[in-house]
Symmetry: C2
Subunit: 380 residues, 2 copies
């Protein structure tokens, strides 16, 4: 970063990627791609190599961009994540699923990881810079082993990483007021801390709620089911004729559906509540990078202040200072573009995950109401 | 009982009440009243006497039989219950609410007692003997203080109580096979033990379920409400324009309704689950008398066996034995009429209380589904 601001990074080569920042609707923004696309992570498959000595899970990834389907392992995602993190230090990358060794072939866990990977690719597809990243596109489309290795090597030797990536960005000529930008970035950082705390609490409570539904709530419905069933048996045994037999049947049917409702609560917790938890995990992981990004901006601003002082003290020339200011401004543009991207994403994320969750809850309780209504009819 | 069977009760007076047993649809039954009626216990009111030194709750009772409204205290119910228990030893009386001193003026408790008293009067109204009982009708219609006292005294001096009540019953001439009846009564007694165990388990689990809904389930919804509300605040503070403001509003509305749903769970537990518990309490109290009733029958059968032996041994005459057999048969008729009444009541009771509960559950979850559906729309 410092090297970039002071034009001391010594990079000579042409950057492979070019990104542009514009001002749209009064907001500093990355110029979005005209062709948005989506990606699907699917079909986790256990594969082996070295005659079965090593086994791993391979995921198939398909993008609407190329239609090409590639097969990638967790370690490939992990490698790509490292590369992207190093290259785009001013961009908040989504998190990968946690590395986990024990139980890594359990269906639930594989499913959970697949969902987190899906959210990871979704966020990359939606990011105006990452979605056009060479290394990402390579990951997404390369099916040839040799080309894959070449692309990998190329990415690992990329000079335009860290602060130097800013060389790949063109921003508007309009100079910025560093103090203003600083205030905005600080406000954003504070707000993100608030969001982080809110998301942490939400995660904690959703976890508790998930355990409650899959545990005591499920158990209670099923214990009531058993109680109804026992009473049904007593009616069957009372020898008091058809009215008792009908009651016995009604109680058995009620017991059966109460048991199913118990299972449904667990499924609801495992699927619907889990989806919220995964999305909050992805969101929290993304914003966990924000303090570092804000810090980068702080460093650039400090560099600018030092430069201003150095000019006053006659240590460096006005023309040198202008160059520094341009590069600080470019940094500010990049940070502000990311701030505005994250704000927009946040709203979309919440819209999607809370909206989806409420609809799933609605469907769940609607089905329960229907079942209970049908059961009630038996007792009329 | 023994005195009755051996015609040694020495009662000379005319019984005030007459009840008749018939055989209908192959079952031994009390001749039912042609005019069924209902009773309502309502408006529990705190009243005082001795210038406020003593306070008590008075309930108003209205029957569709007379339309007369009377005011009775718990102690009046208690007195009547004692009288009925002593008089109708072969009839399973419903239970009164438990006596409770602490917190006896709390609204919830008063409401709970009112419901149990309501079930008590309902069961009496539906019983073909109790519904025509003189002392009950006196309780139900007497509004004059002096007449009340006279009626009370009369009931307390009633000779036709216990075994002697059987003198008030006319049963079919057809002789019964005591061994057959004994088997039927024993089967009934066993079945009632099964029902008692089933109801005990149901009570226990409904209690646990009630605590779960009013406790952890309520708390979880409300804690999630608080989490949504905190996230809503973060959106409000992010300065990212109208999309964030709309999200803030949607989250606040969701938080509000989640909080209300939490309260609704408690209300559902307090009202709907409580109604089931009350009905099971009433049912269990009623059948708790069954072993004693079956025992009375056993005594009568034993008396008959002893009589048979005494005839063989020439200790008593055939004609005396015939009289004993008639009275044993009358006892069997009375017991079987009660057995068949209880079997029919059981089916009706369960039909009503489980059916009603399922409908209330349906309504509860239907409303939840509707609320959640409305909330989801905000995130579209």
């Amino acid at each position: 970063m410092e090297a970039y601001v002071l034009s001391a990074d010594g990079i000579k080569g042409q950057p492979g990627e070019r990104h542009e920042i514009i001002i749209a609707d009064g907001l500093i923004r990355w110029r979005g791609d005209s062709k948005p696309y989506v990606c699907t992570v699917d079909k986790p498959k256990k594969e082996t190599k070295m005659k079965g000595l090593k086994s791993f899970i391979a995921y198939s990834i398909t993008s609407s961009l190329s239609g090409i389907q590639v097969s990638r392992r967790y370690k490939h995602f992990d490698w790509l994540h490292e590369i992207l993190t190093a290259k785009y230090i001013t961009i908040a990358l989504p998190p990968l699923p946690e590395k986990q060794v024990s139980g890594r072939y359990e269906d639930d866990l594989i499913d959970h990881r697949k969902h987190i990977l899906q959210l990871w690719v979704e966020k990359i597809c939606r990011h105006p810079v990452l979605s056009k990243s060479d290394v990402w596109l390579h990951f997404l489309t390369c099916t040839d082993e040799k080309q894959w290795k070449n692309g990998k090597r190329k990415a690992e030797k990329d000079e335009y990483i860290g602060g130097s990536f800013l060389n790949c960005v063109t921003s508007p000529d309009a100079p910025l007021n560093p103090n203003d930008v600083e205030r905005q970035v600080e406000m954003f950082n504070r707000n993100i801390r608030q969001m982080e705390e809110g998301s942490r609490v939400l995660t904690e409570r959703m976890n508790t709620y998930q355990r409650l539904l899959g545990g005591p709530v499920k158990q209670n419905w099923q214990k009531l089911a058993a109680a109804f069933s026992a009473l049904g048996h007593s009616f069957k045994d009372d020898g008091a004729g058809p009215a008792s037999m009908r009651m016995a049947d009604a109680l058995q049917t009620t017991a059966h559906h109460y048991h199913v409702i118990g299972d449904d609560f667990e499924t609801h917790a495992k699927n619907d509540v889990e989806r919220v938890l995964e999305r909050v995990y992805s969101y929290r992981g993304t914003i966990s990078r924000v303090p570092d990004i804000c810090n980068i901006h702080k460093q650039a601003i400090t560099k600018w202040r030092n430069t201003e002082n150095a000019v006053v003290e006659g240590k460096i020339s006005e023309s040198q200072a202008v160059k520094v200011k341009q590069r600080v401004d470019n940094t500010s543009y990049v940070i502000m573009a990311e701030v505005n991207h994250l704000n927009a994403e946040k709203t979309e994320d919440f819209k999607q995950f809370i909206g989806a969750y409420l609809r799933q809850q609605q469907a769940f309780y609607q089905q329960m109401a229907n079942t209970l209504g049908d059961l009630a009819k038996q007792f009329e």
